[in-house]
């Protein structure tokens, strides 16, 4: 990034923070803060271990420094500004789920709007699971558009605040369907359609349909490629594909273990889709920094936006996350790209052009353009 571009972005962020209402997280004085700044150098250093006693101090800092990225700790500390993690005195942490396009989609990635819409579907699925199955109240959930490629869910329930990383792992594994035991399928459930029992059962039906659609020789080749599943068992599964559950418990157990194992990619991907594709380490890390709502994302210029769960459906991050205006700015585009923002849908090729400020901030933040250049 050219120095002039870094300065342009810094100025724009200054103007935003000068007037913005920034919501402070609860227990502000127990949070650690970390910041990254605009720089023309390729060596971003985070300034962290910073604490604010009051909201005024926080706002004053943002207005003066206008950081490129603003993070705070999901954890509560006795002394958040202490220079080492062990000296901070951990006193609990919010439960966080992170849904990010990088984790949900495989390259080649679709357009940015399509990507965000896919992640929103996944977020909706997660909210549903948290409320209907895990029993959290909707008002305990805060949904946050990250300003980048996804959404975060902050669970503010006091009951989980003291959870260790291991306890949080139980929850994220439930959400993602990690560690599912195939034998679960054999257990009689009170309501077989709900929870993982039902999801696993439906995934198995789909998988067997898919197997059928392959035809005998291809299906056998697939089955034999699964680790620990020999030729004899492959034949047996193919023959019994419509009547698996008529086998005795003992023999079906023998079949299901290898068939529905991690080593079977076609099965694993179905389970992944049946669950929620959240990023595990974010949930299990009890000392993580997360983007602060109300701040701007220095990689897009979009606002990190808080939503009520029920507002998610109608939320359009590429309209409601935009905080800059229409004033025209000359920029020099450095590569082919397409931008959908507000009511603009613009296609660019390398070269100088003039664009609305909101688009200029987006292009420059993402490294797709430098500010300046001569407009045609």
């Amino acid at each position: 990034m050219r120095p002039s571009t870094a300065e342009f972005l810094h100025q724009r962020f200054l103007s935003y923070y000068a007037g913005a209402q920034i919501p402070a997280p609860d227990a502000l004085s127990q949070r650690e803060w970390g910041f990254l700044f605009f720089s023309s150098r390729d060596d971003p250093r985070m300034r962290r271990h910073i604490g604010f006693g009051t909201k005024d101090e926080l706002v004053e800092y943002l207005r003066t420094m206008a950081p490129a990225h603003v993070f705070y700790s999901t954890a509560y500390y006795d002394d958040p500004a202490a220079p080492t993690m062990s000296a901070k005195g951990w006193a609990g942490a919010d439960l966080i789920f992170d849904l990010d396009a990088d984790h949900i989609l495989k390259p080649p990635f679709p357009s940015y709007p399509a990507m965000l819409s896919r992640v929103r579907d996944e977020t909706r699925k997660l909210i549903d699971l948290l409320v209907v199955e895990l029993g959290f109240a909707e008002h305990e959930l805060q949904v946050v558009f990250s300003g980048g490629r996804g959404y975060h869910i902050h669970v503010k329930a006091l009951s989980v605040r003291q959870f260790t990383g291991q306890e949080r792992r139980e929850l994220i594994n439930y959400v993602c369907g990690i560690g599912l035991d195939p034998a679960l399928l054999l257990r009689p459930a009170a309501e077989s359609s709900g929870g993982w029992h039902g999801r696993q059962l439906r995934a198995l039906e789909e998988y067997l349909d898919w197997l059928e659609s392959l035809g005998e020789s291809e299906a056998l080749a697939h089955l034999q490629s699964i680790p620990d599943l020999g030729r004899g068992m492959a034949r047996q599964i193919w023959k019994r594909r419509r009547s698996l559950f008529e086998m005795t418990d003992a023999s079906i157990r023998k079949v299901l273990r290898p068939l529905l194992s991690e080593g079977n990619d076609a099965w694993r991907s179905r389970i992944r889709e049946a669950g929620v594709m959240a990023d595990e380490p974010v949930t299990t890390d009890i000392k993580r920094l997360i983007r602060a709502p109300g701040s701007l994302h220095g990689g897009t210029g979009l606002r990190v936006t808080v939503l009520e769960p029920r507002e998610l459906e109608a939320f359009d991050p590429l309209i409601e996350g935009v905080v800059f205006a229409e004033r025209e700015i000359p920029v020099e585009v450095v590569r082919d790209c397409r931008v959908s923002l507000l009511d603009h849908d613009l296609q660019f090729e390398p070269g100088p052009t003039r664009v609305p400020e909101a688009v200029a901030v987006y292009l420059c933040s993402r490294g797709m353009a430098e500010v300046g250049g001569v407009a045609p």
Partner: protein, 353 residues
Amino acid sequence: MRPVFDAKDLARYPFLQEAQAKIAGSQLENLETFLEGEVGRRIIERATDRLESAISLPPQALNDHFREFHARIPNALESLYAYGMARVIASCTGDRTVIERLIGYEAWRSAFYLSSEADEEKRTEVARQLGLEVSGEAVPVVRYVEMVAGLREPLWRLVNREVKGGFVRVHASELDVLLRERIRVVIRGRGLPGVPPEVCALLAPAVGHVSGVLQSQMLRDLGPIDESRYPPCMAALVAALAGGANLTHMGRFALTAFLHTIGLSTTQIVEVYQRSPDFDIEKTLYQVEHISGSSGTEYTPPSCATMETNGLCVNRAALCERVGSPLGYYRKKKGGPQQAGTAGRDPPSGSSG
């Protein structure tokens, strides 16, 4: 109406409010005189025995141990005080392993008595005080997760349970185990008493003895360094190094912490990294020393779950299903002559094998 717990009950369930009150009310104010008296010495001895058993007996040997021990609770009140004293001594050692083992021991002990508790009212009241009502067949998700975090079998994982509306369905036959784990959570949650240094000084012989028992138990658990016992994930990391691959940060961290914990010296660990073609001795030394504790924090190797999250859990073997960490695998995977017989049943000797 609440059942009345007698001294024996309190010795069995020392986490009960009534038991806590009894311990608090026992006049231990004149501690020095008390500790030096005959009763005091006996209680210290019983507390030390308790800690020795906690450290040296594996969980599967505990019920037999209690069955044997159950026959001779000569003085219930002294047994209750020994519970308190064991906590004081554990607190003085300041060692997390001692503390965790004691908590586990106490949980198994009370659960042992609870499973054979004939008085239904008492059983209900104990469960109530633990915050785990036994009525119905559902446990709130949060409670459940706290209880099963230490259980390894797949059937306890939340993902393998019926979960609805914030409740986990449990079967009546599972309640004994859940109560035991709940006791563990409750005792752990209360923390240990903060003991003033002058009191720890009075208990120095007992504290020193317990630390010694732990030390020799750990040496026995780990045995001599043996590359053939490395879990598949660690063997893969070593093989990757030898084959010229560049390990990820997490891979380096996991391997170094593992090798350090099983007893390799810094020099020996650096030798392992030397097999890698992009070996940089200064950088490696720095990383190894940092991870093995020169910075003040000694890192323990990651759990299986963390290895899995980071894509480092490879070539899973059957034994992996029964352990929670690569270190657990290493411990279990023995088979040399020194392991003949059931290790845990031997009386704790205090000297290393």
